[in-house]
Each structure stands twice: as structure tokens, then as C-alpha cells.
Amino acid sequence: MPSKAIRVPEELWPRRGGWRGRVVSVLKKPGDRVSRGEPVVEVEIEKAVLVIESPYDGVVSEVLVSQGSPVEPGSELMRVDVVGEG
């Protein structure tokens, strides 16, 4: 099973990078199953709370952030062993 990263999407406001946020909640832990489209991490920016979804089906192998972690577009949030690929 290939391991893939779930990131703060750089495609969100793609040509307006430079915004920063901090993790307010981590909704999955290592070993948890995760489905594509399922919320995994919530990131607070000044304007809103962004609910980040998993782009993959799989099993969380590693969580790379915790509550309060500073993040930006492209930051890795967790890694997932992806089901149905490879």
C-alpha cells in the first residue's frame, strides 16, 4: 500500500499563498481508517476554520501535527496508507 501525504491544499486560493493558520483539531489518529472526503484536520485562519478532507481511502499511518501546530499551504498534516492503489 503506497503511503501518501494529506496536506493543507495549495490549490485553495492557488495564486494567493502566504496565508497562515494553526491546527485547532486533529480528527484522526494512527491506525484509524479514513475515507475520501472525510474531515481529518481543522485549521483556523483569521477568516475562518478550514475543515480539511482526506483525498484518499486508507489507513492513517502517521499524524504529523497536533493542536496548535502552525501550518501553511502545502504543510503535511498526516500520512495515509492508501487502499486500492499501487
Binding site: 485553495l12 486560493w13 483569521e46 477568516k47 476554520v49 475543515v51 478532507e53
Partner: protein, 287 residues
């Protein structure tokens, strides 16, 4: 103060819009203002184009669009926007711009050329423009109106008392009312539109006064939305309005006489613009 929650869900059409605007180098206010509706709009295949660059000459204290010395105008931009409308297959397009106080006409001619190019390449498309104040210059306003947009929007943004605090020093409450009034006088069948951002410290009475002033300037469509602070550089949020408060203001706005009112925390001037236009026209023709 509880913040709004945005589900970051990027579908295939979102990727198509992102790729297109990047390839054609067209700025969008969706990106420039960190719009919370970008997933819904781009995911539905629509974007609000922001012409004349992505750097604004004004320093409004609610706005996240980059400020400073702008780039030279791109003479190909009108055609690029027209091409983007064609590729996306839009039947309704919203076009806004940065302020260009550095240009003698404030960019009015470029705006007009963009409207004409979009209509030439896409004859059946409806065009909604959200224009700067052109410092109240009637010749500039006329140039845009004569290019034939279907909807002309100009935002008053806030109530009279807060205008000097919220908007750039070159903006003005009465100047914005004048822009809307002049546009309507030049073409009485033109649908006009304006937005008020709520939550900057205004009172209920001041909001009602602003709505009455807008209607007095002939505005047809009113947008009421919640101010969300884009970063620590902008003004703090003074109040988060409840859905019930939006509903109350919406009802008052209809009593004042607007043809259509979009009142929602996440509403923005161009949000669901086609629906607002269709409904406003239906009601205007019906009355």
C-alpha cells in the same frame, strides 16, 4: 467570536477553473480576497474575474486584495477574459477589478473593452460588472455603461459614519451613491447592485439609512453580508450577525423597495449573481 467553518472540498471542476485562470494569467477576486465561497463557485465552474491586475491602488481596511503600485494594463486581457468565458461555457459572467487611480480614466476604457470583448465572443452571455468609483467621474462611468453590461454593481461597503475608517481616503459614501445614481440615469433599464458588509461596528439604524440611500440612488439588487477579517492587517470584526438578524434586515430591505435582496453571512457581491439577476429582472418586469 465563533468563526465560520469552511469545508475544503476540491472537485474536478475546481481544478479545471484553477488551471484555466492560471494558464491565461487572469486574476480572480476569489483568490485575491480569500473568498470563502471559492470551493462552491469554482467547483460549479464559475469564477469572478478581476481585471487590471491584482494590485490595488487603494488601501481599504477590510480588503485583502494586494495593495501598492500596480502592473501596466495587459492589452490582451479583454480577449483573455472573453476566451475564459467561452472555454468555461458561462452564460453569466461577473467581472470586477482593482482600483486604478494611477490611470487617467481609472481603467474605465479597459473595463469597457473587456465587456465588449466578452459579448463579442459570447453573444448570449450576460455580463455583470463590479466597478470602482472612478472618483465619481461621469465620463468614466458613461464609458462602462455604454459598453452594455447587463448588471452594474458598485459597493458602498459600509454605512456613512464608518466610511472614512473602513474605506480608502479617496472613496466616499456620497461618491459611491453618485456612481450608482449616474449609471442608472444613463441607462434606466440597467440593473444596478450594491453590497453592504455588516459587522464593522455599524448600528441597526445606520444600516437602514444606508439601504434607504442605496434605494434612493435607484439600486435594484442589495447584498448584505458578514465581514470576515482576512488577516490581522485588516479591521477586527465588531459583530457576527445571526441568521435571524440577516432575515430581519432582508425584510426591511424589501419594504424599502429593492427588487432582490441577497442577505447571508457568506454572501458576496458576485455570489449566486445569476440567480439574483434573473429574479430581479422577473420582478422588475412583473411590477
Amino acid at each position: 467570536m465563533e468563526k465560520v467553518r469552511i469545508r475544503v472540498s476540491l472537485n474536478e471542476r475546481y481544478g479545471v477553473v484553477a488551471g484555466l485562470v492560471s494558464r491565461l494569467s487572469i486574476a480572480t477576486v476569489c483568490e485575491g480576497a480569500l473568498c470563502p465561497n471559492i470551493m462552491e463557485c469554482w467547483g460549479g465552474g464559475v469564477a469572478t474575474f478581476m481585471i487590471m491586475g491584482d494590485v490595488c491602488t487603494r488601501g481599504c481596511r477590510f480588503c485583502y486584495v494586494r495593495k501598492g503600485r500596480p502592473q501596466p494594463l495587459d492589452p490582451m486581457e479583454p480577449l483573455k477574459v472573453a476566451e475564459a468565458v467561452r472555454i468555461l461555457g458561462l452564460d453569466y459572467v461577473t467581472i470586477t477589478s482593482v482600483d486604478r487611480d494611477d490611470l487617467p480614466d481609472g481603467g474605465a476604457r479597459h473595463f469597457a473593452e473587456t465587456i465588449r470583448a466578452v459579448k463579442m465572443l459570447n453573444p448570449s452571455v450576460k455580463v455583470e460588472v463590479l466597478i470602482p468609483d472612478f472618483r465619481g467621474d461621469e465620463t468614466a462611468i458613461r464609458a462602462v455603461v455604454e459598453a452594455g453590461p447587463d448588471v452594474l454593481a458598485h459597493n458602498i461597503e459600509t454605512v456613512r459614519r464608518l466610511t472614512p475608517i473602513v474605506r480608502d481616503w479617496r472613496a466616499g459614501y456620497d461618491q459611491s451613491l453618485k456612481v450608482l445614481r449616474v449609471a442608472k440615469e444613463l441607462n434606466p433599464s440597467l440593473v444596478t447592485k450594491s453590497s453592504i458588509l455588516l459587522g464593522l461596528g455599524e448600528t441597526f439604524e445606520e444600516v437602514v439609512e444606508a439601504m434607504e440611500d442605496l434605494r434612493g440612488a435607484g439600486v435594484d439588487i442589495l447584498v448584505l453580508s458578514q465581514y470576515l477579517r482576512p488577516s490581522l492587517k485588516q479591521l477586527p470584526v465588531a459583530k457576527m450577525y445571526s441568521l435571524e438578524e440577516f432575515k430581519v434586515l432582508e425584510e426591511i430591505a424589501y419594504k424599502i423597495g429593492f427588487s432582490y435582496v441577497v442577505a447571508h453571512p457568506l454572501a458576496r457581491t458576485s455570489y449566486k449573481a445569476k440567480e439574483a439577476y434573473m429574479e430581479a429582472v422577473r420582478r422588475l418586469r412583473g411590477s
